[in-house]
């Protein structure tokens, strides 16, 4: 039932003031470091298709899932270090840590390797929020811990993401399901089983440990737009930053090979088709720019709403947004019959 107070904002005014403060501090951080703020269109005719991300469709095109392709066109044109902070949209993503419309912070560092960028992400966070720091028994870089995806999966989920067979992964999923929990395992593919094991084991372990953890070196099947180090074993030069078990940022050593990018996009569209999802138009101007040449660079996207959650300590993303998607307010018991 809609009540007479449904029009009220969800976040308290105090939290919305903290949001304003957070945005100001982020801008000050980049200004001090000579990173230039840019703006690119929210409305796009084409994109870099992703398998597990559905764009928001509108009459004139698509609302951006991230500003990645437009920002890389600027980089190819010689822009230098740039950042953008604005809105991004992802259809159907609704939950404790997801809202279909959210604030994204994305930045690129031409000439940098991904490890340098990780240190800058860490510096940004330390300049903004005080974080608890507990020992996660790994090598450290300053306050944050480094952990490879392989180590994390081995230690917390008991699987080897590179060498275990599909049957072994299924077996591990079955063993580790909560009591009474049933999983439709038959339909899940290798990377999906790994995704489930990560959610089930790695994220809770990182939450229990607390503090900042960079998960690095992903399997090539989860490379997205990151460069792949041929190994062996081959690993994607990609990182995910977890803070207190909440995934906060995703970064790459950016893949610069236009042909390889086109191949990955086409592969995404083939898989989307196989899964009965709509194929998505590939951004040809972006690929042209990649052919003209993207400088060696590292880039990262960070969820600003989640950062605010950490700063003001809320359990859900809705609590730091003035007007989250109405239908998914936490504790909503409206019947949909």
């Amino acid at each position: 039932m809609e009540s007479a107070t449904s029009w009220q904002p969800v976040a308290t005014w105090w939290r919305l003031q903290r949001r304003a403060e957070l945005l100001a501090r982020i801008r000050a951080f980049f200004q001090q470091r000579g990173v230039v703020e840019v703006e690119t269109p929210l409305l796009l005719p084409a994109m870099a298709p992703e398998l597990h991300q559905d764009p928001m469709v509108c009459a004139e095109g698509y609302l951006q899932g991230s500003p990645e392709t437009a920002m890389k066109r600027l980089l190819a044109a010689g822009a230098g270090a740039i950042y953008q902070m604005g809105r991004a949209f992802r259809a159907g993503e609704v939950g404790r840590l997801h809202n279909p419309e959210f604030t994204i912070l994305e930045w690129y560092r031409p000439g940098w390797r991904v490890a340098e960028l990780q240190r800058e992400v860490e510096a940004l966070l330390l300049s903004i929020v005080a974080l608890p720091s507990k020992g996660l028994c790994c090598s450290t870089a300053g306050e944050a811990k480094l952990l490879t995806y392989g180590e994390a999966m081995q230690r917390f989920a008991g699987v080897d993401p590179w060498d275990d067979s599909l049957t072994q992964l299924q077996q591990k999923c079955r063993e580790s399901a909560a009591e009474g929990e049933l999983l439709p395992l038959a339909g899940l593919e290798r990377q999906e089983l790994l995704d489930w094991l990560l959610l089930q084991h790695v994220e809770p372990a990182l939450r229990a440990e607390g503090g900042m953890v960079f998960l690095t070196d992903f399997p090539p099947t989860a490379a997205a737009m990151a460069e792949i180090d041929p190994g062996p074993p081959p690993v994607a030069k990609r990182f995910e930053l977890y803070v207190n078990g909440v995934e906060l940022a995703n970064g790459y050593q950016e893949l610069r090979d236009a042909q390889e990018l086109r191949h990955r996009f086409q592969e995404v569209n083939r898989q989307r088709q196989r899964l009965g999802k709509k194929t998505l138009p590939i951004d040809e101007l972006f690929l042209q720019a990649m052919e003209a040449g993207l400088p060696v660079c590292a880039g990262v996207a960070l969820g600003v709403d989640r950062l605010l959650m950490l700063a003001v300590q809320t359990e859900s993303i809705q609590e730091v947004m003035a007007f989250p998607e109405r239908s998914m307010a936490m504790g909503d018991t409206r019947s949909i019959d």
Partner: protein
């Protein structure tokens, strides 16, 4: 069919051929990875709670469940009998199916009966019921502020805590979700 966005607390779904109510739901997704919807569901027939995880691209069947207002008639000790006041059709439920509502059943009063594929499977009392106190210690006049309580037995057999000034034979309003005394009924 319900899509993952419709799998919310309170939705009723059919899984493995049985009706369930969702008591908790979350959408989870590792960065760039497959999204899953995790739901905690309570069986509408036997009350057991389990978890289920779906790829968020999957759909789940809506349970063929309706709630209908029925009049409580009587219990023969084994079954609790209710009647649809419109059609005069009667249904019988076991004590397990009646569940917590058992404390608030008063003959001739209306209750919400849940039908699954036309069969009665559960009963829910209204949030507030008015019942007569059949047994309690005498009232203490004027004591409306001390906050002290005493047990009172209601006509349905349920025992609730009431303030000291309330007397045997009086009608009181009770919150069935908490079992708490609310006020004296006019």
């Amino acid at each position: 069919m319900l899509t993952h966005n419709q799998l919310r607390q309170g939705s009723r779904v059919e899984i493995d051929g049985l009706p369930w109510i969702i008591v908790g739901a979350d959408f989870v997704k590792p960065g760039k990875g497959q999204a899953f919807t995790k739901i905690r569901i309570k069986n509408l027939i036997d009350g057991r709670v389990i978890e289920r995880t779906f790829k968020s691209s999957e759909t789940v069947a809506k349970a063929d469940v309706i709630d209908t207002e029925m009049q409580y008639l009587y219990s023969d000790g084994e079954f609790w009998h209710f009647m649809d006041p419109g059609s005069c059709d009667q249904v019988a439920l076991t004590s397990v199916q009646v569940g917590d509502a058992i404390s608030w059943l008063k003959e001739q009063e209306g209750y919400q009966v849940t039908l699954w594929k036309g069969k009665a499977i559960a009963v829910q009392a209204p949030q507030f019921v008015i019942l007569t106190i059949t047994q309690c210690e005498p009232g203490v006049k004027g004591d409306t502020v001390s906050g002290a309580t005493k047990p009172a037995v209601l006509e349905t057999g349920a025992t609730v805590k009431v303030p000291l000034f309330v007397n045997e034979g009086e009608r009181i309003r009770v919150d069935t979700r908490t079992g708490d005394y609310v006020e004296r009924a006019k």
